[in-house]
C-alpha cells in the first residue's frame, strides 16, 4: 500500500521484551527533578535581565481608542513600554501548513492594533528590572476603548470580524459514499444534539519565555521553549528578519504541555524583539490568572448529528454538522482541530457513507487550539453517544451494537475515503473486537451487571458505561536522530524531538541501548535544541516514540554495524559472529575470545587515525525516518459511577482503560500516560470548564473556579496495555500512547451516568455537573 514501508527494507525490532525495550526501567530524567534541580523556564536567569509584564484587554470586544503609557514609563525600574505601534513591523503570527485557504487575515498580531477581541489579549507590554515592579507599572497603563457587540455563541449566525470578513473563515467538509441513499433506506435514524464544554490542558507550569541576544556571536536565544522548536525557530527568524541559524531555541525542563505549550504565542515574539532592541535579556513568566485567559483553550464544539442504521443496528451513514468555537483568532494550528474532529469521527466502525461539515467559527473568547486527543475527545463523545442511542432505539445491548459495527482484524488495514491532517485515514492494524472482549472480561462487565442490579435494589443510583476510541499518533512527516559514541564509550543521542515531561529521554535511550548493546543509563539524550540538530518536528500528536524512536533504532543499528565491521577487522572474526553487550564487542556464541570496547573502537575512528582517511570520522550515524501515514492506537474506556441523589454528585468509582499501543517500549511509562491522560479526561467530563458571562468576561479565572481533579476525585483505575496489533508502519511496531487515556473519558462517563439514571440519552453535554444531574433525577430523593 502507498506509504507503508516495504517489509524487507527495515530491520524490525523483535517481539517481546528485550534487554531494555519492553521493560519498565526507571527514568533517566528523574534525578534532577526529585532533587529540585530542574531547569524550568522560571528557573532561567541572566545577568541584567528585564522582566516583561503584559497589559491585557479587559473587554471581550472593543475598539481601542488610546493606550497611555506615560505614567507607566515613569514608574521605578521601568525601561520601556510598548504598544502596537512599537511592534508594527512584526507580522501576524502565522499557522502551520494546511490545505485550508483563507485563514490568513484572522491571525493574531503580537499586540492588539485597533481592536481587542478577547479578554486577556495582549495590548501593551512593560519592561522593568523586577517582576513585582513590572506588574506595578503595568497597572498604570491606561487603555481607552469603545465596547463593541460580543459574539459568544458559535452556533449563532456569524458576525463581522473586520470589514469584508465574517467570523466563519472556513467550513471543513468531508464526504464519501451515498449519504442521502443511506438515510432514505434506513430502518431507523437517530438524531442528537451534543456539546462539549470549553476546557484545556492547563499544565501546572504556566508559560514562560526568556530571550537573550548573544551579541558576541550574533545569536538570538530563546529559552523555556517546548514542543516544536524547529518550526518556531524558523518562524521567529522570519518574523524578526533574522537568518534561522542566527536563532537558537533551548528547551530545559517542561512542566507539562498537553498541546497548549510550545505553540508560537505573542509573548514569545515580544521577548525576542525586546532582547534585540533593548540589548538586555528579557524574561517573561506567565501567572496563573493570565494563563487561564491567554493560553490556548480547546474542546468547545456543538454537534448536530444524524445516523442511519439498518434493522440490525448496523451503520448505513452518518451526517454531522458541527460548530467549533475557535475563539478570537486563528492560531498556529489553523483549522486542524476541526479537520481532526471531522476525519476521526467514524472511529472504529464500518461506515459506508459519511458527510461532515465542521463550521470553524470565531468568537470573542480566548483563542483555541489542540489539547490532548484534540478533535477526538469531542468526536468520541459524539460518536459513542450515537452508538448508545442506536442501542436504545432498537432495544439492543450497548456492547452488541458496537460489535456489529466494529471493523474486524481481517479488514485491516482499513482505508477510509477520508483524510485528516493531509494524510489519508488508514486504520493500520487492530483487533478491535478482541480487545473489547479482553477489556470487558478484565473489568468484570458481566458480573458487574448483577452487582449493579443488587445495588439498585438496595436504593443506590449506580451505572456503568463504555466508549470505544481510535487514536492517531506518529505524525510525520519525519524525524532524525544522530547517535555518537565518544572515546570513553559514552553514547550521545541528539534528536529533533522535544519534551513535555513524558519520558522522551528514557524511551529513546532504551531503544538506542537495545540496538547498540549498551546500558540505557549511559545514553545521554539531547532534545529541544535547535543548535544541536538542524531539523526536527518536536513533540506533539504522540509522535516521538514512533518517529524519533524509529529514527533512533535506525541510527543506533547503523552505529552498531559500523562498530561490528571495525571490530571484525580488529578481532579477526566475522562480524556476523559478534555481538555487543554493555558496550563490549564479543563473540556471540559466548565462547571465550578477544573483545574490544566501543570506546576503543571510537578512539580508533577519530580523524587522525590512518584507517579513517577518506571517511567521515567518528563512531556516529545520523538516520531519518519518514512516514506519510499515522498509526492508530485504539481501545476502550469502561466506567462505573455512583450518583448521590441528594446532591447530583457523580462519583467515578472504578475505571478501566484498555489501550493497544502496538508495542510498549516502557510499560510503566505507558501506564503513566494513560492514567494521567484519564485524570484530564475526567476533568473534562465532570469538572473543568471555561465559562463566560454574557459580556464575554471570563468566569473561570483562578483554580477556585477552574476545577482540576485532585487525588480525591480519581476512581480506582486499572490499565490494560495491549500489544496485539503492532503497527506495520515503523520498525518498532509502536503506536503512540499519549492520548488514549483522555480520548474516551467524556463518552464513558456520559454513558455510565445515563445508565445510573436509567435514562438513555440523558447526558448531551459535557461537563456533567451536579445541578444538571440533580435536575435529571427529577427532584428530591
Amino acid at each position: 500500500m502507498d506509504g507503508l514501508i516495504p517489509v524487507e527494507e527495515r530491520p524490525a525490532l523483535a517481539a517481546g521484551p528485550g534487554d531494555f525495550v519492553g521493560r519498565s526501567v526507571t527514568r533517566i530524567e528523574d534525578a534532577p527533578l526529585v532533587r529540585g534541580e530542574g531547569l524550568f523556564a522560571a528557573d532561567v536567569n541572566f545577568t541584567r535581565q528585564l522582566h516583561m509584564r503584559v497589559v491585557r484587554a479587559e473587554f471581550a470586544h472593543a475598539r481601542i481608542l488610546s493606550v497611555s503609557t506615560e505614567a507607566a514609563r515613569a514608574m521605578p525600574g521601568v525601561v520601556a513600554v510598548w504598544t502596537a505601534e512599537d511592534v508594527a513591523d512584526i507580522p501576524l503570527i502565522p499557522f502551520r501548513a494546511t490545505k485550508v485557504r483563507g485563514l490568513e487575515p484572522y491571525c493574531q498580531p503580537v499586540l492588539a492594533r485597533d481592536r481587542m477581541r478577547y479578554v486577556g489579549e495582549p495590548v501593551a507590554v512593560v519592561f522593568a528590572d523586577d517582576a513585582y515592579r513590572a506588574e506595578d507599572a503595568a497597572e498604570m497603563v491606561v487603555v481607552e476603548a469603545e465596547e463593541l457587540a460580543v459574539l459568544l455563541d458559535a452556533t449563532a449566525a456569524p458576525g463581522e470580524f473586520a470589514p469584508g470578513l465574517h467570523t466563519e473563515p472556513t467550513i471543513v467538509r468531508k464526504e464519501y459514499g451515498e449519504v442521502e441513499a443511506a438515510f432514505r433506506s434506513a430502518h431507523a435514524v437517530v438524531e442528537l444534539e451534543l456539546s462539549v464544554g470549553r476546557h484545556s490542558g492547563v499544565p501546572l507550569e504556566t508559560r514562560g519565555a526568556i530571550a537573550r541576544y548573544d551579541a558576541a556571536r550574533d545569536v538570538l536565544e530563546l529559552h523555556g521553549t517546548a514542543k516544536k522548536q524547529h518550526w518556531n525557530r524558523d518562524e521567529i527568524a522570519r518574523l524578526l528578519g533574522r537568518p534561522p541559524q542566527g536563532v537558537h531555541l533551548f528547551e530545559g525542563h517542561v512542566g507539562g504541555g498537553f498541546g497548549v505549550r510550545g505553540e508560537l504565542y505573542p509573548e514569545d515574539l515580544l521577548v525576542c524583539a525586546a532582547a534585540l532592541r533593548l540589548r538586555r535579556p528579557v524574561k517573561w513568566i506567565e501567572d496563573r490568572r493570565e494563563h487561564l485567559v491567554a493560553t490556548n483553550h480547546s474542546r468547545e464544539q456543538h454537534h448536530r448529528i444524524r445516523a442511519a442504521v439498518d434493522a440490525d443496528g448496523r451503520l448505513l451513514g452518518i451526517d454531522d454538522v458541527f460548530f467549533h468555537d475557535q475563539g478570537a483568532y486563528v492560531r498556529t494550528h489553523g483549522a486542524r482541530v476541526v479537520d481532526l474532529a471531522a476525519g476521526m469521527l467514524p472511529g472504529p466502525y464500518r461506515l459506508p457513507a459519511f458527510r461532515v461539515a465542521g463550521h470553524f467559527r470565531l468568537t470573542n473568547k480566548t483563542p483555541s487550539a489542540t489539547y490532548r486527543a484534540p478533535g477526538r475527545f469531542e468526536t468520541t463523545f459524539v460518536r459513542e453517544r450515537v452508538m448508545d442511542a442506536i442501542a436504545a432505539r432498537l432495544g439492543l445491548d450497548r456492547i452488541e451494537v458496537r460489535r456489529r459495527n466494529l471493523v474486524t482484524a481481517a479488514e485491516m488495514p482499513h482505508a477510509r475515503p477520508l483524510d485528516t491532517l493531509g494524510v489519508d485515514v488508514v486504520l493500520d492494524s487492530g483487533d478491535y473486537g478482541g480487545l473489547l472482549d479482553k477489556a470487558l472480561s478484565r473489568f468484570g462487565w458481566d458480573a458487574l451487571q448483577g452487582e449493579l442490579a443488587a445495588r439498585r435494589a438496595s436504593g443506590e443510583c449506580v451505572g456503568a458505561g463504555l466508549a470505544f476510541f481510535v487514536e492517531k499518533s506518529g505524525l510525520g512527516p519525519s524525524d532524525g536522530v544522530r547517535v555518537a559514541v565518544d572515546a570513553t564509550g559514552a553514547v550521545e543521542l541528539v534528536s529533533g524531538a522535544a519534551s513535555v515531561g513524558q519520558g522522551v529521554e528514557t524511551v529513546l535511550a532504551q531503544i538506542c541501548a537495545e540496538a547498540l548493546g549498551v546500558d540505557y543509563a549511559r545514553v545521554r539524550v539531547v532534545r529541544g535544541r535547535t543548535d544541536r540538530i538542524e531539523f526536527g518536528n518536536g513533540a506533539h500528536a504522540s509522535r516521538v516514540t514512533v518517529m524519533s524512536g524509529s529514527a533512533t533504532w535506525k541510527a543506533a543499528l547503523a552505529v552498531r554495524e559500523m562498530a561490528l565491521d571495525c571490530a571484525a577487522r580488529l578481532l579477526q572474526l566475522p562480524s556476523s559472529g559478534l555481538t555487543i553487550r554493555d558496550g563490549v564487542v564479543m563473540r556471540e556464541d559466548g565462547l571465550a575470545g578477544p573483545t574490544v570496547t566501543l570506546a576503543e573502537i571510537a578512539r580508533g575512528m577519530g580523524p587522525n587515525s590512518r584507517a579513517m582517511h577518506g571517511h567521515t570520522p567518528g563512531l556516529t550515524a545520523e538516520r531519518w525516518f519518514w512516514s506519510d501515514h499515522m498509526a492508530y492506537p485504539y481501545g476502550i474506556h469502561l466506567a462505573l459511577v455512583r450518583i448521590d441523589r441528594g446532591t447530583g454528585r457523580v462519583v467515578a468509582e472504578r475505571y478501566l482503560v484498555a489501550n493497544d499501543v502496538g508495542r510498549a517500549i516502557n510499560p510503566m511509562l505507558v501506564e503513566g500516560q494513560i492514567v494521567g491522560g484519564l485524570a484530564q479526561g475526567l476533568g473534562g467530563a465532570l469538572y473543568e470548564e471555561f465559562r463566560y458571562d454574557p459580556s464575554g468576561q471570563p468566569l473561570s479565572t483562578t483554580f477556585a473556579d477552574y476545577l482540576i481533579p485532585t487525588i480525591a476525585e480519581m476512581p480506582v483505575v486499572d490499565v490494560l496495555i495491549a500489544e496485539d496489533a503492532p503497527s506495520p508502519l515503523n520498525p518498532l511496531g509502536v503506536k503512540g500512547a499519549g492520548e488514549g487515556g483522555t480520548n474516551g473519558a467524556g463518552a464513558a462517563i456520559a454513558a455510565a451516568v445515563d445508565d445510573a439514571l436509567r435514562r438513555p440519552g440523558a447526558i448531551t453535554a459535557l461537563p456533567v455537573v451536579p445541578a444538571t444531574v440533580h435536575r435529571l433525577l427529577g427532584g428530591l430523593a
Binding site: Y132, G646, E713
Partner: protein
C-alpha cells in the same frame, strides 16, 4: 500575581495593634493569610498597610471559661481541630474544620481570620452561628462582646468599627450526650462549600429538648433555621419529623449564580439538613 506595595507592621501586643488600626490609613489585618494573601496577590485588595498579627502575644490558645470554649482569634485551625477539649466537648467544630481547605491551609489559617473574613461559604462561620458564638472585640473604647448573629453586616463585612479587632471567640458548650453533625456539598474535596449544614440536637426522654440548625452558603451570612428548630422542640425525632424539618429548606431564600442557582441550593440544603439531622440523632444519647 504579585501584591501591590504596602508598609508592613509587626506588632507584639494587642495595644500596639489597636494603636495602628486607629492611626493608619487603609490598613488590613493579616492573620493566617489563606484568604487575604490570594486577594493581595491578585490585587483585588490593596491596603497601604498590612498589620501582621502572627507575633502578637496572647491571641492564641484554647481554654475553658464559664461553660464555653474560648478560642483565641489567632489559634491555628489545625490546633483547634486536634485539641482534646474540642474533640471531647464540641466535636461539631472539629468536624466542620475537617472540611476547611486542606491540611496546609489549616496549618496557617486561624479561627479569627476565617470568622472576620465572613465568606458566605466558610465552614467556621456556619458552625459559629450553630453554636451561638460570642466574639470578644477590643477597640479604642474598650472591650465588648458581639453575638455571631449580629456579626455579618453585609457581604463579607463584619460589624466592626475600623479601629476594632476580634481577640477571641467563645463557643458555649452543649451538654454531654448531645448529637452533632456538620456536613457540606463542595465540587471537590476541600473546596469552598456550596451549601453546608450544621445540626445539633439534645434528645432527652425520647424527645428533642434542644435543636440548632444552620445553613451556610445560602446567604451572605449563616442562616439559622429558627422555625425548623422550633418545630423540632418537644417532638419525637422520627424520620418523618426530621424530613419535615429539612423540607422547610424548600422555602428559604437562597443566593443564586449560574453554577449553583437558588433552586439547586434549596435542594442541597434540604438534603444536607436531613442528613445532618439523621447523623446528629444517631450520635445523640437518649434517642428513643
Amino acid at each position: 500575581m504579585k501584591a501591590a506595595p504596602f508598609a508592613y507592621h509587626d506588632p507584639r501586643n494587642v495595644e500596639e495593634v489597636l494603636h495602628l488600626l486607629a492611626t493608619l490609613e487603609n490598613p488590613r489585618l493579616l492573620a493566617g493569610g489563606q484568604s487575604l494573601m490570594p486577594m493581595l496577590n491578585m490585587r483585588v485588595a490593596f491596603p497601604d498597610h498590612v498589620i501582621d498579627l502572627n507575633r502578637v502575644e496572647g491571641l492564641d490558645g484554647v481554654t475553658e471559661r464559664d461553660g464555653a470554649l474560648r478560642i483565641g482569634a489567632m489559634t491555628r485551625q489545625r490546633d483547634v481541630e486536634e485539641h482534646p477539649l474540642v474533640r471531647a466537648r464540641l466535636p461539631v467544630m472539629a468536624e466542620a474544620l475537617s472540611f476547611v481547605g486542606h491540611w496546609q491551609t489549616r496549618n496557617r489559617g486561624t479561627v479569627g481570620g476565617s470568622l472576620c473574613n465572613l465568606d458566605p461559604s466558610a465552614e467556621l462561620v456556619a458552625v459559629a452561628a450553630a453554636l451561638d458564638a460570642v466574639l470578644e472585640v477590643r477597640g479604642p473604647a474598650g472591650a465588648r462582646d458581639l453575638s455571631i448573629h449580629a456579626f455579618p453586616e453585609g457581604f463579607m463585612t463584619p460589624a466592626l468599627a475600623p479601629e476594632e479587632m476580634v481577640t477571641a471567640i467563645r463557643f458555649p458548650f452543649w451538654p454531654a450526650g448531645h448529637g452533632h453533625c456538620f456536613t457540606e456539598f463542595a465540587r471537590r474535596h476541600g473546596d469552598y462549600a456550596i451549601v453546608s449544614a450544621a445540626a445539633l440536637l439534645m434528645v432527652e426522654g425520647g424527645r428533642v429538648t434542644r435543636a440548632s440548625l444552620t445553613l451556610g452558603g445560602v446567604a451572605a451570612g449563616p442562616m439559622r433555621l429558627r422555625e425548623a428548630e422550633a418545630a423540632l422542640l418537644g417532638a419525637v425525632p422520627s424520620e418523618e419529623v426530621l424530613r419535615g424539618a429539612a423540607a422547610r429548606c424548600q422555602e428559604i431564600e437562597a443566593m443564586s449564580d449560574p453554577q449553583a442557582p437558588a433552586w439547586y441550593r434549596r435542594r442541597l440544603a434540604t438534603t444536607l439538613v436531613r442528613r445532618a439531622l439523621e447523623t446528629a440523632l444517631a450520635r445523640a444519647g437518649g434517642a428513643a
